[in-house]
Symmetry: C2
Subunit: 231 residues, 2 copies
């Protein structure tokens, strides 16, 4: 807002709440760019969730006017698309590439995929409504190549890929949606025990209290891989 007059601005004019960036910082922002917009959108999403991403708020963080964004970006949907894909970049560990252990590679790729999404919980809730960006396609390509090299016939490849993809997406989605606030969790827990007569089995196995998400993911993935390619 103030901006405009370039000179030496004093202080306190920004103050973005949860993550304050002081005026001094804001007054000397680098110029707007798509990269900066996307990176800041990810920050904002991390901090405030899907509903927290507002164009005006994003512009604030960037130290620009709200409308400036629209020169770089078509609309808000595009910001979502770009933010989602940017979070799914895959940096393959070089040494693994030539490994013979295809199963280990696959497990590593999928655990990394899941971890990337859990680092940004909003990504799971965004995925269902978004198009495939280059990073997602890149992951699918790498997964396909690995399975193909491992000897899976082309005819079975698509089923295998989709099964693994489904598993990862489902696991991430579920994990993220169970990551409730403490209040929500307490409420849900209470409601469930209150209804334990209606759901005796899942109550007995403590399905909803089982916190070993990582272990469940790993074990389930092993089962799936056993089915896909029995060793």
């Amino acid at each position: 807002m103030a901006a405009k007059r370039g000179g030496a601005q004093s202080k306190r004019s920004q103050r973005t709440a949860a993550s304050p960036r002081s005026v001094q910082e804001a007054s000397r922002e680098p110029p707007l760019s798509l990269e900066r917009i996307v990176a800041t959108a990810v920050e904002l999403l991390d901090a405030e969730g899907v509903d927290g991403l507002k164009m005006r708020r994003l512009a604030d963080r960037l130290g620009s006017g709200a409308m400036s964004l629209y020169w770089h970006v078509g609309n808000k949907e595009e910001v979502f698309d770009l933010a989602l894909d940017s979070v799914l970049e895959y940096r393959a560990p070089p040494q693994i590439i030539e490994s013979q252990d295809w199963r280990g590679e696959v497990v590593h790729m999928l655990e990394d995929w899941r971890a990337s999404m859990l680092r940004h919980p909003w990504s799971a809730s965004l995925l269902p409504r978004r198009a495939l960006g280059p990073n997602i396609l890149g992951r699918l390509e790498l997964l396909s190549k690995t399975l193909s090299r491992a000897g899976v016939a082309d005819a079975d490849l698509n089923v295998a890929i989709w099964s693994l993809w489904n598993f990862v997406i489902g696991a991430t989605t579920t994990r993220a949606s169970f990551d409730l606030s403490d209040d929500d969790r307490a409420a849900a827990q209470q409601r469930l025990t209150r209804l334990s007569e209606r759901y005796p089995t899942i109550e007995r196995t403590r399905l909803l209290l089982d916190n070993d998400w990582d272990g469940a993911f790993r074990k389930g993935l092993d089962f799936l891989l056993d089915g896909l390619a029995p060793r």
Copy 2:
């Protein structure tokens, strides 16, 4: 709007569809109720998608003032929660209940689950952000009971349940998000073939063109079940 004056109204009063509802039609609505609100919300979601559900629009369809909804419902989020769970009701075929074929039962339950969600494509995109309603819990309970009766040890039960759940949620999410408009599909297809050098494997297996979603689901589920409980 008009409403109020009670007299003897003639006929034709529903007509939901794509639809304008004329004043006359609207004037003889039954009174508001939570059931009617939820059912109409589902209709609206089916017709217009997640973004099409606006409180004012919903009220229009119900022939009531926009603010009347707030007596029955806390806020819009609650409408989403209720609509989602209402679509996931499970009517178990009674004859199957005593069957010995647990694997057949599980497959049936999961295919029904998937089918229910695909009938309302918005449900997949809503799921990640919603709490578990009674119908979802009911499905989880039934699934647990079936697997438990089939001999799966309690210690393995949670992994099995989550794996199957993940698979269904992932498959549904993916399927729904690939169900693009023709324009979108054409654009995506074009972009992919243009980039075929970067994604040779998934291009070769036609991963993104494979339209046999039902078959892939069934086969993938079989693989997963093979892994979970080898026959």
